[in-house]
Structure formats: C-alpha cells, structure tokens
C-alpha cells in the first residue's frame, strides 16, 4: 500500500475504517479540521471496538475490581495481585479469535506473544500460560485444520519462549464453525515494588523503540477484529501478524535486565494498533504530549508510509520512556540481546500527538482526546427470555448406563485432551506441580518452600446461551471450584468476553446480563476482576457464536504438600459427595450426547451455597484430610467419579441413595465436589460437614479395577480409559469410525 497523506477523505474511506458518520463528525470537531489520511488511521485505531470498548465500557464498569489483595485492577497491561512476601502475580487473558480463524498457526502464536508481552511489560517473568479454545463442529471441513494449526501455533510460540502451559479448555460446537475462539492467558511473577506501568513522567525525555523491526504485517488488525466476517475473509490474511518467539524471549530478558538498572520510567508494549496505541497511552496517562520522528523507526520493508508505520502490528516491539542518563547502559543491554534500540521521539508539554515523517508533519492531534473522547455507547438491548424448569422425569433414562457413560467419556467435548497438551511444554521452569488434566494447573512460587499458585480457565457457553445470567455466574463459580479443588484460595480473575455483534439488541442483551451474572458471582466469591478483554462481532454471515465469557482465575496454595489432586486417592479411601443429589438435566452433556438435544434452562447457581461448600472443602484440604478432590461439572457425578478413577488407575465401589438415577448420575447441578478421605478420617470429615451445615453423602470407597455405581454401572477403568483417550488422536489422524 503506498498512499499519499494528502489522499482526500471520502465517505467510503471513513466507512472502510470502521467509523460511522456520527463518529467522523466528532473526529473533525476534535481535530478542528479535516483529518489527514494518517490521522484518520490513528482515530480509527483508537476508536475501534477492540481498543475503545465503546459498546461494553458502560457495563464493564459494574464489575467488582477491588479487594485487599488487588494492587492494580483493569486499565493497566495486566492485573496485579498481592500473594504475600512482597510478591505479586500479574495476569490477563486476551482473545485472538479473528486472526486465528484466518491463519490458525500465526493467529494463535501471536495471541500467545501478545499476552506474554502484556505480562512482562509490567516487570513480571511469565510462569504459567493457559488457552481456552473453541472450535466448530468436528465434522465441519475446516475444523481439523484449525485445531491442528492453533495447537501447533500455541506450542510453537510458548515452547520456544519458555513458559509452561498448565491448563486450558478445548471445546467443539457448530456455532463456532465460522468464528473460532482463541483466548490466551498468561501469568507472571514480580516483586511488589518493581511493577512498571505505562504512565510517562517528565518533559523532553527520550521515547525509545525496542525490539523487532516494523513491517507491514497486521496493518489494520484491530479494525478487523472489530468487524463481522463475511465470505471475503480470506482476503484479510495480510492483516494477520507473524510471530517470532525467539525475539520475544530476547525482549523479555532485555526488558527485565533493563528494568533492574532503574532506567525505565514508563513502558508499553505495542499490541493492537502498535505504535499508535502505545504512544498515545503513555502520553495521555502521564498528561504529556508525544512527538515521534518516523524516519528513526527501525523498519524491515522499504517505502513504508506514515500510515502503515503508525498502524503496523508487527510483533515483539516495545515503547519506553527512559532516564536520559541511562541511555548508554540501556542500549548496551539491547545490543547484547540482538534487538533494535532507537530513539524515535520525545515527551512534550503541549498535550499533542505529533508525527513527523520525511520532514513533514503528518499528524498533529490532541493526545488526551484520542482516548478520553472515544465514543461510549449505551446500545439498546433485550432482556433474554427465561426457560421454565424441566424436572428429571421429562428426560428419558439411558437404555444402558455403562454404554452411556462410555459414550460421554469418549465424546469430543469430554474426551482426554492429551493430544493437545502433549504438544505444549508443561514442565519448563521446573515448577509445575499439577499438569493439564486435573481441575487446575499448579505452579510453585520459586524461592518459597511451600507456596504455589493454581490457575483455571472456565465457562460453559451452552449455559450462557440458555441463560446469560446463570451462565455468567456459573463461569465464575466453576473457576472458583476448580481452584478450591486443588486446595487454593481463589484470589482474583481475568475475564475474556467473547460475544457476537453488539449492534443487535439480543446479542447486547446477552453481554449485559452475562456481565451482571459475572459481577454478582465475583462479588459473592471474593474474586475481583483485575484485567480482561472484550471481543465482539464474533459472527460470520450473520450467525453469532455462543456467548462465551471466559474466566481465568488464580488461587493461592499456602502449602503445596497438602495440595489435592484428582487422581491421588488410595485403596480403601472413603468417597464423599459434598452437595446434594442432582436433578438438573437440561443443557447437560447427557442431554446432548445421549438424547441428542440441547435445550432448556441452565442450572442455577446458588452463590451462598457455592461459597459455604467451597470454604468447607478448602478447609478440609488444608487440614490434610483429603487424599483426592474433584469438582463436579460437565457430565455430572458419574463422569467426575470416572475421571478420578482414570487418573488414579483404581476403581471405586459406590452405593448411592437416589431417586432419579439418570439425573443423579449425569445431572449438572452446581456447587458440588467429590472428596476422597482416608478411612481413619472419614467420621471426622462427616462430623465436620454436619457441623458446618454443608450437605454431604458418603457414596462409596476407592478400590478394585472397576467403577461400580449401584446396579447401574460396572465398568473397568481400562475400558473407560481407552474410550476417553481414543477420540482426539483418532479424530486428528482422520481415522475416526462412523
């Protein structure tokens, strides 16, 4: 693209930039004249949905973001939470949905790169990563190609960078056929007094460009991420960035080394809308102007225009404001790591964002207004309809419980994800205590004898579709449960809200009501939202994805010697159900896999009960009573028991007092756990449950080679395992039967 900066601004050009007439009128007012072509690009980058949150801001403000442990909430590159001993955990989740659909390897890889940069920009060394992935119907012709590309892209980037991937989600649903989701989470460890933020301070200080060179890749990426897809999607490939994990690794080391010298005043990574967003952010936050000389920007392509340089989304780049006296020291560090280091501008006191290129001023805009005056919409929305309750007798029981169990264990959404996680380095850094396949990934805190952190990413989109309010609550509650089940105290969460087109009132209704549910659950379960990302317009040819507000939670384990796992129960241990008999089969995996239907209300979440049972289970694990623990979620009690048996390789013999067997075994009522307790502590555990007012039932003992439940289920652990492990590799190899 070689476009002259004097190109006339036509209505068509404005609309190509994703701006409507009203917005353009406001831009002319704020610019106090017609913008130049470069300026139009800058306004559009700052005002697109991805950067400005213009449709969601009003509602995001309602989420609880504060707590005694929160050091930095939303607004910085990532959230910062105190974990004691002067340490903080820095984390965020972000989507890279559209790029991953267009070019799965690079789209996913750069998604990982972006979230890692968000974390180490703040001075934290990344210690854990997770990915929440949603693909279309397994039978859709593109799905296998997308799974293969996304998984190898995540591995290709994360493994080379050197961060362990400790958890995540992989799900399939036809509603993601034309719009997959790739939500990447990263967490890093830092000292509380060594956190870096983007706010610049001081006039006349050098603005320094660091990292990789600028190319034309990703020009307009953020605008693309804010538009719906149609049939012309393949034409958007040039807006997908290309990742280089080796450069990112060098950038990490160089940044941490530089920060240790005290040279850094402010730092901002170049993510969406690259140089534009990062420079404006640093200036506007610090009440300063910024002047950039584009001729000094390191480039890897010839004849790049100012427009292209300002909007390039080339990866592995950072912008910093440095102490001038430390310039030589800083430069030496970057040369050591083989990275570009260039002074590309300075801070000013005039609150203008000025861009010089080839001796011409190509942009001169009011820096604070670029962000502050971004439109904020109160889009019309519709309250979603509510389903009437559906008692268990409305659902047919299976003809054969064993066959039903095996079918569910081997179904695309419930089978083992080993094929995926074995492509990720889960062990690097030597601190991984729980790998994918359990309730949460656990990583110990280096330098501490007993402390560890648990990470889990959760949402059940079919619930959110059926009932955005209960579904929103459930996403937080399940994340909370997964952390609790390892013995972690849930600390805080990050949210990644993936929805369709917010200009449609029913989609906006899903967003508004899901946020209401998320907020209530975060408040009740003491998990403030400290960072996040909104991805809207996830639609192709007018069909929206399932509403998918992914929650990434972090919990603290004070002594990992007492931590619980799903597969550590021993022969003779007593199994307890914490919670009551299930009755809810609507929207369940059983309904979908066995009855071939997906309908009815989502299970409701009683937050007070959720908290009471969570507190009780956490206390039991921390007192070292629990030899194993698992939360009950997708597939219900029978699946949770099967998963525990498969993980330990030992069977279980259960006798459960039940009314509706199929509902009791496969119902998805919330706030429930299975806890295995050494025989000698079983009575004490029961007495404590009673004392705490927590419902429980003694349901069986661990032992033997089979999982037996009443006279309904009797199946060997080996048979369950072979069903559970088979689907993914067979599907990816194209050898799936039927």
């Amino acid at each position: 693209m070689t476009v002259n900066n004097t190109q006339p601004i036509t209505a068509e050009l404005v609309s190509d930039h994703g701006l409507n007439e009203e917005e353009y009128k406001r831009i002319v007012e704020l610019t106090e004249r017609e913008p130049t072509y470069t300026e139009l690009g800058i306004w559009s980058a700052m005002w697109n949905e991805h950067c400005s949150y213009k449709s969601s801001k009003k509602w995001l403000k309602t989420l609880p973001t504060e707590g005694p442990r929160v050091v930095h909430g939303p607004g910085e590159n990532a959230g910062v939470v105190d974990i004691g001993d002067d340490d903080v955990i820095v984390f965020k989740m972000e989507s890279h949905n559209h790029p991953s659909f267009i070019e799965p390897y690079q789209g996913a890889a750069t998604g990982i790169g972006g979230i890692l940069r968000d974390v180490f920009t703040m001075g934290a060394r990344p210690i854990a990563a997770m990915n929440a992935l949603r693909f279309g119907d397994p039978n859709h012709p593109k799905t296998r190609h997308l799974v293969s590309g996304v998984v190898s892209g995540i591995g290709g980037y994360g493994n080379s960078f050197g961060v362990p991937t400790v958890g995540g989600e992989v799900n399939f649903h036809p509603r993601y056929n034309g719009n997959i989701l790739v939500n990447a989470f990263a967490a890093g460890l830092a000292k509380k007094d060594a956190i870096y933020i983007s706010k610049a301070e001081g006039v006349g200080l050098p603005v320094v460009y660091l990292g990789a060179k600028t190319g034309r890749d990703g020009v307009g990426g953020a605008t693309m991420a804010s538009a719906e897809f149609d049939g012309s999607i393949e034409e958007k490939r040039p807006t997908v960035q290309v990742g280089d994990p080796f450069t990112e690794k060098c950038l990490l080391e160089a940044c941490l080394e530089l920060m240790a010298t005290g040279a850094v005043i402010a730092i901002q990574d170049m993510g969406a809308a690259g140089l534009t967003c990062s420079a404006v952010e640093m200036g506007a936050r610090g009440d300063l102007g910024i002047e950039l000389i584009l001729d000094d920007v390191p480039v890897r392509e010839e004849n790049m225009t100012a427009y292209e340089m300002m909007l390039s989304e080339s990866q592995e780049r950072m912008l910093m404001v440095l102490r001038p006296e430390k310039e030589a020291e800083a430069k030496a560090i970057f040369i050591k790591w083989g990275l570009d280091f260039a002074i590309v501008g300075k801070t000013t006191d005039d609150l203008r964002f000025r861009i010089q290129h080839q001796g011409v001023e190509v942009a001169n805009l009011p820096i604070k207004k670029l962000g502050d005056e971004a439109p904020e919409y109160d889009r019309p929305w519709l309250e979603p309809g509510i389903h009437s309750p559906q008692p268990p007798h409305l659902f047919a029981p299976p003809h054969d419980y064993n066959a039903a169990l095996v079918k569910i264990l081997g179904s695309p959404d419930m089978c083992s994800r080993r094929w995926v996680w074995e492509q990720y380095d889960t062990l690097i850094q030597g601190n991984s205590l729980q790998l994918p396949g359990g309730d949460a990934g656990v990583v110990r805190v280096e330098g501490h004898d007993t402390k560890a952190l648990a990470f889990s990413s959760d949402v059940t989109p079919r619930y959110v579709e059926a009932d955005p309010y209960e579904g929103g609550k459930q996403a937080v509650a399940e994340c909370y449960r997964n952390l609790i089940a390892t013995g972690a105290e849930p600390l805080a969460a990050t949210d990644n809200l993936n929805f369709g087109n917010p200009e449609k009132p029913e989609i906006m209704g899903q967003l508004v009501v899901a946020i209401r549910g998320l907020g209530e659950a975060c408040l009740a379960l003491d998990m403030p939202i400290v960072s996040g990302n909104v991805s809207l317009y996830n639609e192709t040819n007018g069909e929206a994805i399932l509403p998918t507000p992914t929650i990434g939670g972090v919990g603290l384990i004070d002594d990992h010697a007492k931590m619980a796992r799903i597969g550590t129960a021993d022969e003779g241990d007593v199994l307890f159900l914490v919670g009551t008999e299930a009755t809810h089969l609507a929207c369940s995996i059983y309904q979908r896999e066995i009855l071939g239907e997906e309908s009815g209300p989502a299970p409701s979440v009683d937050l007070l009960m959720e908290k009471a049972r969570g507190d009780f289970v956490l206390a039991a694990i921390r007192s070292d009573y629990a030899s194993a623990c698992h939360d009950i979620s997708d597939g219900g009690l029978a699946i949770a028991l099967a998963e525990m048996c498969m993980a330990s390789g030992i069977g279980a013999d259960c006798a459960i007092d039940i009314t509706y067997p199929h509902a009791a075994l496969f119902g998805e009522d919330q706030a429930r756990y299975i806890v295995a307790v050494d025989d000698q502590w079983a009575d004490m555990f029961a007495a404590n449950s009673e004392g705490s007012g927590v419902s429980f039932a003694r349901i069986g003992t661990i032992g033997g080679k089979n999982l037996k439940i009443n006279d309904l289920i009797d199946i060997s652990v080996t048979d369950m395992k072979s069903a559970h492990e088979a689907w993914f590799p067979d599907y990816m190899a194209g050898t799936l039967e039927g």
């Binding site: 190898s152 591995g155 290709g156 493994n159 080379s160 960078f161 050197g162 280089d244 994990p245 080796f246 450069t247 690794k249 060098c250 080391e253 790591w337 083989g338 996680w421 074995e422 492509q423 990720y424 380095d425 889960t426 062990l427 690097i428 850094q429 030597g430 205590l433 110990r444 990992h560």
Partner: protein
C-alpha cells in the same frame, strides 16, 4: 567440581539447569555467554535446552558456530566432561562433537511427556549412579529429537558402547533409530541426550530419577547424595 552452563540468547531450560546443579551439587554454576571466547576453569560444561537462536534453521545449527563453541571443542579435547540436553544435544551433533543428527520428530509435532529410559551403558561417570539395564522415568520436551545416523556410524556407535540411554519398550516418542535417547562421544567425556533429567530431581517434580545423572556427572560420593 566446578560447573559452567553455556547460555545462548534462546536458551530456556538454563534456569532449570541452574536449579538442578545448585540443588544437587550444593553451589551455583558459572555462566558463560555464547559470544565468550574462553570459559571459566571448570570440570563440567553444560549446554542446556531451548531454542538457541530461534532454531528456524536446523536446531542448534547456528549455535554450533558460536564463538563459545571453539572453547567447548578445546575443552572436549582436554577430556573435560560436557553434557548437552535437548537443544544442547542438537548443538553437540551440529558442532561435530557427537556423531549423527537429530531430525524432526516422526510424528511431526512437539512432544512433551514422560518416557522411560533404559540405561544402556552404566560404565561412565555420567551414568555410574544407575545400574546397567535399569529402567528410569524421564520427561521429554522437543520438536526435533529423532536421532539418526548412517549405517556405518550407527554400527560404530553401537559397537563402541556409545549409546548411553535408549527409550524403553514402547516409549520412543520421536522415531529415533535403535530407540537411541542419548549418546557418548568415543572418549566418553561428552554426553548428549534429548530427555530432561533436570525436570525430575525432587519430590515436587513427582520423582527423582533424573537426579543420579547429575550426581554421577559431579563425581558425588554416596555420603554427599540425598
């Protein structure tokens, strides 16, 4: 015993290796940078895992030509012990210090999982704390670990007892010829291996089978071993 760990810009299991040496040997290793032309006086040199220069070319190919590798070659000639793990193994084959080559995994994907290793030759300081024929647990994490050597080289390597470890029955994760997971040079002072013993050295890792490799490499006495 003094240990030096050699760092390339894309080394990423260097920290794991520092932890292993410090926790097992009782003191922190020296560090050398890829552009260094001389090395601290040491008894053991380690090239850790990672993606030395991104490995967009053959893994370890650029690293093998780094200035520091001349010093490593000299040390090898002098009989100083050298351990290359994963990317370190790739760098050692690329630099000619070990025979054969490491190709892309037969399954064409990165693989991170636990395998079992058979101690094929325990008559060497590196493997001396294991029993001949013992089967141990060990994780792997690599994309290019498919060991290959031409028939003549393979015959020589096997004949000389240069095979240190083989993937035990049914656990070969990458298609390596003769299930080879690690080899010595002819003199026996250089060991290259794809698996990561440094990630299985303490109970928190779920096992300690990797520990004895370091105890052997560091000439530790029974009384010094945990």
């Amino acid at each position: 015993m003094k240990t030096t760990i050699i760092q390339f810009p894309g080394s990423n299991r260097d920290r794991d290796m520092i932890a292993a040496i410090t926790k097992i040997g009782g003191h922190a290793p020296f560090m050398a940078w890829h552009t260094d032309t001389s090395l601290p006086d040491s008894d053991l040199l380690i090239i850790p895992g990672g993606f030395s220069h991104g490995d967009y070319l053959r893994a370890g190919a650029i690293a093998a030509r780094a200035p520091v590798m001349d010093a490593v070659r000299k040390a090898a000639k002098k009989g100083i012990r050298i351990l290359g793990v994963c990317n370190g193994f790739q760098t050692l084959t690329e630099s000619g210090l070990l025979p054969g080559a490491l190709m892309r995994n037969a399954g064409l994907t990165f693989v991170c999982k636990e395998v079992r290793l058979e101690i094929t030759n325990a008559d060497n300081p590196f493997t001396s704390k294991y029993a001949q024929g013992e089967i141990i647990r060990c994780p792997v994490a690599h994309h290019d670990g498919n060991y290959f050597a031409d028939a003549k080289t393979l015959k020589r390597v096997e004949g000389n007892g240069q095979v240190a470890f083989r993937y035990a029955e049914g656990t070969n994760p990458n298609g390596s010829i003769n299930d080879i997971a690690g080899i010595f040079n002819e003199a026996g002072n250089v060991l290259g291996m794809m698996p990561h013993p440094e990630n299985l050295i303490e109970p928190a890792h779920g096992g300690t089978d990797g520990r004895r490799l370091f105890e052997g490499a560091l000439n530790m006495l029974e009384s010094e071993m945990a």
